[in-house]
C-alpha cells in the first residue's frame, strides 16, 4: 500500500545533518587564519594606523635616500643668502601654467637698519629641474652613506637660481635639506634606542617574571627607583657628564644608550606581568614537566603569546626617545653640530628674539610632531591588533 503523496513541499536533496555546522569558504578562511594573519587583517582596518604606517615608511625612505632627496648638501653655504626667507613655490605665472618654479630672490641692503632685505624678483623665473645629475647641476656630487660617489638629485634648482623652500639659516644653509638630513639622525636614533631597550626589557623582565621570588623583588625595586626619577633632568645630567672630548659619533651612541637605559623599565614591567600570568597556564606547566629548560619555555612557549603586544608597546615608546633626544639637543646637552638632528636644528631657535625675526627656524617642529603623532597612531593600531581574538 503506497503512502499518499505529501501535501507540502519537500526538498528532494538528501538530508545533510552537518549543514548548520559547515562553514562558508569565507568563514573557513577566517577561522583557519593564524594569529599573525588575524592581527594583520585587524591592523588593516585601523585607518589612522595604516595612514601613519605609510607616512612613516615614506619618512624612512627619505632617511635612506636623504642625499638624493635633499636639494642641497648638509653643509652647503650660500653666503649671499643668510637668513633668507622661504621661497614660494609657484605653478602659474601671469595666469599661465608653467609648472613648478620659484621667482628669483632680490637682495637689497637696508642702510638704516643695516640688514639684508630679501624680496621676490618677479622678472626672474627659475623652473625646478627634476632628476638632475652632475652634468647639469654642478657641485651635486656626494658620497652616498659615505660608501660610493653619486650625483643624482630628485629635485634641484634651475641654473643660477636658488631653491630655499623653507628658507636658510644663520650660515645660509638650506633649511629643507638640513631637516631632511636631520631626519636621518632623529629617526634612526629612535630605532637603535628601542632595539637596545627592547633587548634589555625582555631579558630582565623575562628573568624576573619567570623566576619570581628574590630576583623578581630586586628587579621590581630597581624599576621603581628608575621610574621615580624624573626622566628628563636625569637624562640631562647623565648626558652632561659624557666627556667633552668624545667625537660626535661616540656622543650619538652614548645618548642612544642613555635613552635606552632609561626606557627599558616600562617594557620589562610589561614582560614581567605577562610572564607571571602565563607561567601558571597549563601549556607552560606541561612543557616544564616534559623537561624543557627555562630558556626554551620562555622563548618557545611564552614569548609567542605576548610578543605582538610587546611590539606595540615598543612602537609607542619610540616617540619618547625621539622627543628625549630632541629636548636634549635643543638644550645643547645632546648631539653636537657636525651631527645634525632636528633637536640640533631647533637649538638655533632657542632665542625667541631670533625666532620672531626668522620664524622659519621653527620649521623642524613640524616633522617632530608629525612623526610622534604617526608613531602614536600606529602604536595604538598595533595594540588593538596585538590581541586579534578580543572584540
Amino acid at each position: 500500500m503506497s503512502r499518499p503523496p505529501i501535501e507540502h513541499y519537500v526538498n528532494p536533496e538528501p538530508f545533510n545533518p552537518q549543514s548548520l555546522l559547515e562553514l562558508t569558504p569565507e568563514q573557513e578562511r577566517y577561522y583557519m587564519a593564524s594569529q599573525w594573519r588575524l592581527a594583520w587583517w585587524k591592523l588593516k582596518r585601523h585607518r589612522l594606523a595604516v595612514i601613519s604606517a605609510s607616512f612613516l615608511t615614506l619618512m624612512y625612505l627619505v632617511v635612506i635616500f636623504a642625499e638624493a632627496v635633499a636639494p642641497y648638501d648638509l653643509e652647503e653655504r650660500h653666503t649671499q643668502y643668510l637668513f633668507a626667507p622661504p621661497q614660494e613655490l609657484n605653478f602659474f605665472d601671469e595666469g599661465e601654467f608653467v609648472g613648478p618654479f620659484v621667482y628669483g630672490i632680490a637682495v637689497t641692503l637696508d642702510m638704516e637698519k643695516l640688514q639684508w632685505v630679501y624680496g621676490e624678483d618677479r622678472s626672474k623665473r627659475y623652473p625646478l629641474r627634476f632628476f638632475c645629475s652632475d652634468n647639469d647641476y654642478p657641485g651635486a656630487s656626494y658620497r652616498f652613506w659615505g660608501l660610493f660617489d653619486s650625483s643624482f638629485h630628485l629635485v634641484c634648482p634651475a641654473e643660477g637660481g636658488q631653491f630655499f623652500l623653507l628658507g636658510t639659516d644663520r650660515l645660509g644653509r638650506d633649511m629643507l635639506s638640513r631637516i631632511i638630513y636631520g631626519a636621518r639622525i632623529s629617526l634612526t636614533l629612535g630605532l637603535i634606542g628601542i632595539s637596545i631597550s627592547f633587548f634589555l626589557g625582555i631579558t630582565i623582565g623575562g628573568v624576573a617574571g619567570y623566576y619570581g621570588g628574590l630576583v623578581d623583588s630586586v628587579v621590581q625595586r630597581v624599576i621603581e627607583i628608575i621610574r621615580s626619577f624624573p626622566m628628563l633632568p636625569l637624562l640631562m645630567t647623565l648626558s652632561a657628564i659624557l666627556p667633552v672630548t668624545w667625537p660626535p659619533t661616540l656622543i650619538f651612541i652614548g645618548i642612544t644608550v642613555l635613552l635606552a637605559l632609561l626606557d627599558w623599565p616600562g617594557l620589562a614591567r610589561a614582560v614581567r606581568s605577562k610572564l607571571l600570568a602565563l607561567r601558571e597556564e597549563d601549556f607552560c606547566v606541561a612543557a616544564q614537566l616534559m623537561g624543557a629548560k627555562p630558556g626554551r619555555v620562555i622563548m618557545k612557549h611564552l614569548m609567542p603569546s605576548f610578543v605582538s603586544h610587546l611590539i606595540a608597546s615598543a612602537t609607542l615608546s619610540i616617540p619618547t626617545m625621539i622627543l628625549g633626544e630632541t629636548a636634549l639637543s635643543f638644550l645643547g646637552l645632546g648631539l653636537r653640530p657636525p651631527v645634525t638632528s632636528w633637536g640640533v636644528l631647533l637649538n638655533e631657535a632657542q632665542n625667541i628674539n631670533y625666532v620672531v625675526l626668522y620664524p622659519w627656524l621653527l620649521y623642524p617642529v613640524i616633522p617632530v610632531i608629525l612623526v610622534v603623532l604617526a608613531y602614536q597612531f600606529l602604536g595604538d593600531g598595533l595594540l588593538d591588533a596585538a590581541d586579534p581574538y578580543k572584540h
Binding site: 625595586r221 626619577f229 628628563l232 640631562m236 631647533l346 625667541i352 625666532v355 620664524p359 617642529v365
Partner: protein
C-alpha cells in the same frame, strides 16, 4: 590606617637612600673634581695658583677623603638642610637656589591641580558620550596634546605671543619682583604669570589622563551590573556616579605616580624655554658649567619631590579604597 601610613613611609626611606647614592655617583662620575677643573682653568689663563688655598679648599669640602666619607658628608649635610656648596657661584647652594625650589613646588602643585580639574569632567563626558561629536573632537585634541612635546608648545606660544601681540609671556613674575622678598604684589604677579606655564606643562598630562579615565570608565560602563542597575530603572546620573565612576576613580588617582615625574621633568625644560624662575634653568646652567654639586642637589630635590608626591597619592588612595588600606600596598 596608621600602620599602613607608617609602613608606606618606611618603604620610602630605602628608595630615597638608593636615589641619593645614585645621584652622588653621578656627581662623582666626571673625572676630577671641581677644584682640578678650576686649577686647570686658572693655569690656562696664566694665573698663579695658590697651592695652599687649594689644599685648604680641598680639606674644607672634604674632597681629599674617600668617596664613602664624602657621600656621608653630603647626605648628612642634606639632612640638615645644607645642600652643599656651589663652586661656580662660590656660595652655599641654598643661597643660590633661593625662592626657586619653592616656586618649582608651586608650579608642580598648581599644574597637578589643573590636570585633575581639566581631565575629570572631560574624561567622564568622553566616556558617557562615547563616539559623539564632542568625544571625537576632544580625543583628537587630546592626541595632538599628547604628541606635542611641551617645550615645543612653549616655543611656539612664545613666538605667537611675541609676533602677534608683542608681549613676552615668559617669566614667572614681573621683573621688579625678582630676588625680592615676598610681598602681596609679588604674589599677585606670580599668579598672573602662572597660567601660561601651567597650561603648557599640563597639556600632555591632561590629554593622557583624559584618555586613561575614559578607557577605565568605559570598561566599567560595559559591565553587567551597570546593565542591571539600568534595567531596574535607576536614574542615569545615579547609575553613573554610584558605582562605575567610583571604580574608575581609583586608577585615576593612582596615576599621579606616573604623572608627577612626567610633569616635573617636563617643567624643567619648559621653564628653560619660558625663562621661569624655577630650578629648571638653574639645573641647565649648572650642568653646562659642570657645577656638579649644584646639579646634584637639584636632581636630588626633584627626585624627592617625585617620591613625596607618590607617597601623597598612595595615602590618598588608601583613604579612598579600603582594599589597599587593609591589604597594604598597591597592586600594579
Amino acid at each position: 590606617m596608621l600602620r599602613y601610613i607608617v609602613r608606606r613611609i618606611l618603604i620610602m626611606i630605602p628608595t630615597l637612600l638608593v636615589i641619593s647614592v645614585l645621584v652622588f655617583t653621578i656627581i662623582q662620575l666626571p673625572p676630577g673634581d671641581y677644584l682640578t677643573t678650576m686649577v686647570n682653568e686658572l693655569q690656562a689663563q696664566g694665573e698663579n695658583v695658590n697651592q695652599e688655598r687649594i689644599a685648604y679648599l680641598r680639606e674644607e669640602y672634604g674632597l681629599d677623603r674617600s668617596p664613602v666619607e664624602q657621600y656621608l658628608y653630603w647626605v648628612g649635610g642634606m639632612l640638615q638642610g645644607d645642600m652643599g656648596h656651589s663652586f661656580e657661584h662660590d656660595k652655599p647652594v641654598a643661597d643660590v637656589v633661593g625662592d626657586r625650589m619653592f616656586l618649582t613646588m608651586v608650579v608642580a602643585f598648581v599644574t597637578t591641580l589643573f590636570v585633575y580639574v581639566m581631565s575629570f569632567p572631560i574624561g567622564v563626558y568622553s566616556a558617557v558620550r562615547q563616539y559623539s561629536v564632542g568625544d571625537f573632537a576632544l580625543s583628537f585634541l587630546g592626541f595632538i596634546g599628547l604628541a606635542t612635546p611641551n617645550f615645543l608648545l612653549a616655543l611656539v606660544l612664545m613666538y605667537l605671543a611675541k609676533a602677534y601681540f608683542g608681549t613676552d609671556i615668559g617669566g614667572l613674575m614681573d621683573a621688579q619682583y625678582i630676588d625680592k622678598p615676598w610681598t602681596w604684589g609679588k604674589v599677585m604677579s606670580v599668579l598672573e604669570h602662572l597660567w601660561v606655564p601651567v597650561i603648557v606643562i599640563g597639556t600632555a598630562g591632561t590629554a593622557g589622563m583624559i584618555r586613561r579615565l575614559r578607557a577605565n570608565l568605559l570598561d566599567e560602563l560595559h559591565k553587567q551590573y551597570v546593565v542591571t542597575a539600568k534595567a531596574k530603572g535607576l536614574a542615569p546620573g545615579k547609575v553613573l556616579v554610584k558605582y562605575p565612576l567610583r571604580m574608575a576613580l581609583n586608577p585615576f588617582i593612582a596615576d599621579i605616580g606616573n604623572l608627577l615625574p612626567e610633569m616635573i621633568s617636563g617643567a624643567v625644560i619648559v621653564s628653560v624655554v619660558l625663562g621661569l624662575e624655577t630650578t629648571g634653568p638653574m639645573l641647565l646652567k649648572a650642568l653646562q658649567s659642570q657645577d656638579m654639586y649644584l646639579a646634584g642637589s637639584f636632581l636630588m630635590f626633584i627626585s624627592l619631590l617625585t617620591v613625596v608626591g607618590t607617597l601623597i597619592s598612595d595615602l590618598a588612595l588608601a583613604v579612598l579604597d579600603p582594599r589597599i588600606r587593609l591589604e597594604g600596598g598597591r597592586k600594579r
